[in-house]
């Protein structure tokens, strides 16, 4: 999963401090693997360097300075591009796809569209495997079947998610 894009997506709803970003990330996406502060700050300085975020204000306090970050137009375009690019079909991609779907819902984009494009990308891989299977020997068929079943499992998750988008939208935007 791209932490940079996810943090950028979270900034689309308004400027936040690094600490707030970490908390929002952990709450939405980091159930099993919360972000380290170091990851947040190194990611933010990279995004800053690339002009995808800017510092919106600095709060001086007793401790270190607290920067508030805002997404730039280039940042919004970058999130847009990431969401629109289908993932390379592979095993265990659900967490990235899940993140994309939730972010799309949070940012009022078309989540069904993301799922349609992903289905198409998966089917493209499945067609290649099916063709290889048709022309190959039994060993080829078994190897291809293994891959096909994994891709099919992704797609079953995708269809189930598509059927539950309204419910998910209601939950994540609560």
């Amino acid at each position: 999963m791209s932490i940079g894009h996810t943090l950028l997506g979270l900034l689309e709803s308004g400027p936040r401090h690094g600490y707030d970003l970490k908390r929002a990330f952990d709450e939405k996406f980091g159930h099993d693997r919360p972000l380290h502060y170091g990851q947040v700050y190194s990611t933010m300085s990279r995004l800053l360097k690339h002009g995808l975020v800017e510092v919106d204000g600095i709060e001086a306090g007793g401790g270190p300075e607290r920067k508030r970050y805002a997404i730039t137009d280039a940042g919004v375009t970058d999130v847009e591009r990431w969401l629109a690019t289908p993932e390379k079909p592979e095993e265990y991609l659900q967490s990235t796809l899940y993140t994309k779907v939730v972010l799309a819902l949070l940012t009022h984009r078309d989540a069904a569209d993301i799922l349609d494009v992903q289905r198409s990308e998966h089917l493209r891989s499945m067609r290649i495997l099916t063709d290889r299977k048709r022309k190959g020997d039994l060993a080829d068929q078994l190897v291809c079947d293994h891959a096909l079943f994994h891709l099919e499992a992704d797609l079953r998750w995708l269809e189930l998610t598509a059927a539950r988008l309204d419910k998910l939208r209601a939950e994540v935007t609560r």
Binding site: V117, S120, R156
Partner: protein, 229 residues
């Protein structure tokens, strides 16, 4: 509507309601000879209604369907049923073979309805059954064969008139994966070699993987994924 050159069957802005239920809400479609197009989408999305409209079984409330340069709405009922009998073939999920007839008589039936003599029709039927690897079942009745075998007999029957379009609605829905895949292999191979187009309604990705491209139907609207990407 004037479809692009080379299009065999095309539809534009199809609308169809059953009472208050909207089944199609501006759906479109197009297919070329020799092409296999999967129609995907959740249950109740309008997939089967789209297939029924394209095949001239159900008239849409509005919209245009053009087959081989001819507008379907402009044809009489007699012309449309002649088209279905001679140029279209159908494969459904189940319940399509006549239980009182033998398998070869079932396969020969569309030719007999078109007026072909029995011997000639059954000879052609047997040739198709051979291709679908079920010629040894010729004398059996549908009740005496397995689901997978019965479906291959049904595919042979859909192909026997050498149709230009085959409409298949969940053709493997009642089969296990091995039988389902064999049916798909044989159906798509036979269709491609005859340069026939296949409109394949399915919700199964492994079945859709036998297609050349897919369209997705949701809430009665269709999306051509080839053009979307």
């Amino acid at each position: 509507m004037t479809p692009p050159p080379g299009t065999l069957l095309a539809a534009e802005d199809l609308r169809k309601s059953y009472g208050p239920t909207v089944a199609l809400d501006g759906a479109g479609f197009s297919i070329h000879p020799g092409e296999v197009v999967a129609v995907m989408g959740p249950s109740g999305s309008g997939k089967s209604t789209l297939l029924h409209c394209l095949a001239g079984i159900v008239p849409p409330d509005s919209g245009s369907i053009v087959y081989d340069g001819r507008e379907l709405a402009g044809m009489s009922d007699t012309e449309r049923s002649a088209l279905r009998r001679s140029e279209f073939g159908f494969v459904f999920q189940f319940g399509q073979l006549v239980p009182e007839l033998t398998c070869v008589e079932n396969v020969a039936l569309p030719l007999r309805l078109n007026g072909r003599p029995r011997k000639e029709a059954e000879r052609a039927a047997l040739a198709w059954m051979q291709r679908l690897e079920v010629d040894d079942l010729a004398a059996k009745r549908p009740g005496e064969v397995s689901g997978g075998q019965g479906q291959r007999v049904a595919v042979a029957r859909a192909l026997v008139t050498e149709p230009r379009v085959i409409f298949a609605d969940e053709p493997t829905g009642a089969l296990d994966s091995l039988n389902g895949e064999r049916v798909m292999e044989l159906l798509t191979e036979a269709a491609r070699s005859a340069n026939a187009a296949v409109v394949l309604v399915t919700h199964e990705a492994r079945v859709a993987a036998y297609s050349d491209r897919e369209i997705v139907v949701r809430d009665g609207r269709s999306r051509d994924m080839e053009r979307a990407i």
